[in-house]
């Protein structure tokens, strides 16, 4: 079977960009969790999670965002999310994540949001 989930790391204007591809479920969420943790521990606390190629997310994937966000914000960083397809966005939205996270249409808009508001006020 082809790799069901992958994370492509890059940097953009000093931000750490994690581009997700495939599906993020209870099986693949631990890989995402390890990556976010490694970024944070390496001092890269301004993260963009780019989701245009993310085909699916379940609560296990959402749990990764939840488990790190407070700590990252306390350190002056943030996780901002962009590129969600309607299918994936409805999961974030129904749980109220759209009020708790900055969710932007694309990477350039997310870079601008980091410049305007490095940490989301909730």
């Amino acid at each position: 079977m082809a790799n069901p989930f992958s994370i492509h790391k890059s940097t953009e204007e000093g931000l750490s960009v994690l581009a997700l591809e495939g599906y993020l479920d209870a099986h693949t969420a631990p890989e995402f969790e390890k990556t976010v943790q490694a970024e944070f521990q390496a001092g890269r606390k301004q993260m963009v999670v780019e989701c245009s190629k993310l085909t699916y997310i379940s609560s296990a994937g959402l749990g990764v965002f939840m488990s790190f966000i407070e700590e990252i914000r306390e350190a002056g960083g943030d996780i901002k999310i962009c590129g969600l397809t309607p299918k994936v966005y409805q999961v974030f939205d129904i749980l109220g994540f759209s009020a708790l996270f900055d969710i932007l249409p694309d990477l350039p808009a997310t870079v601008r949001r980091f410049q305007e508001a490095p940490v989301k006020e909730t």
Binding site: D25, A26, H27, Y56, S58, A60, G63, L95, G96, L100
Partner: protein, 145 residues
């Protein structure tokens, strides 16, 4: 007669999270075949994934020798799904329904799966007999004009 129109499907898989993708493919095919819109198919897929992930991780504690059974029946008005296991049951009423913001502060994601199931399905019922048989029944009504 209605019973002549009901189609039944079943899938048995070893209790491992790597099989969640297979379960979703099964449910997706059923949703699509029943004429659901894409976003509703996605909701059905997610609700069943959440139910099965709970069984794999909590009822069976990731014991891959166990089996998860997914039964589906489709008629003109609805898709009904049953997720059956013989693992540890739980009291659905005891699952805290904290606000997502409070869960975030507590660094906990517990309860999100059940919230998604209840949000995306029209009916969700549990019949729990710990160690004997636990059944989660969910219904998604079809909105056919």
């Amino acid at each position: 007669m209605a019973w002549e129109r009901t189609k039944r499907f079943a899938l048995h898989v070893p209790s491992s999270t790597e099989n969640l993708a297979m379960i979703r493919d099964f449910v997706k095919s059923i949703g699509t075949q029943s004429g659901m819109e894409d976003l509703d198919v996605a909701r059905l897929e997610l609700a069943v994934d959440e139910a099965c992930a709970n069984v794999i991780e909590h009822a069976y504690d990731d014991d891959t020798s166990k089996e998860v059974e997914i039964r589906a029946s489709v008629d003109e008005t609805s898709v009904q799904i049953e997720v059956v296991d013989t693992g540890k049951g739980f009291d659905p009423a005891a699952v805290e329904q904290l606000k997502v913001k409070d869960l975030m502060t507590a660094k906990r994601s517990g309860g999100l799966g059940m919230r998604l199931m209840k949000s995306f399905m029209d009916e969700v019922h549990y019949e729990v007999q710990p160690g004997v048989k636990n059944e989660l029944k969910m219904v998604k009504r079809l909105n056919k004009g």
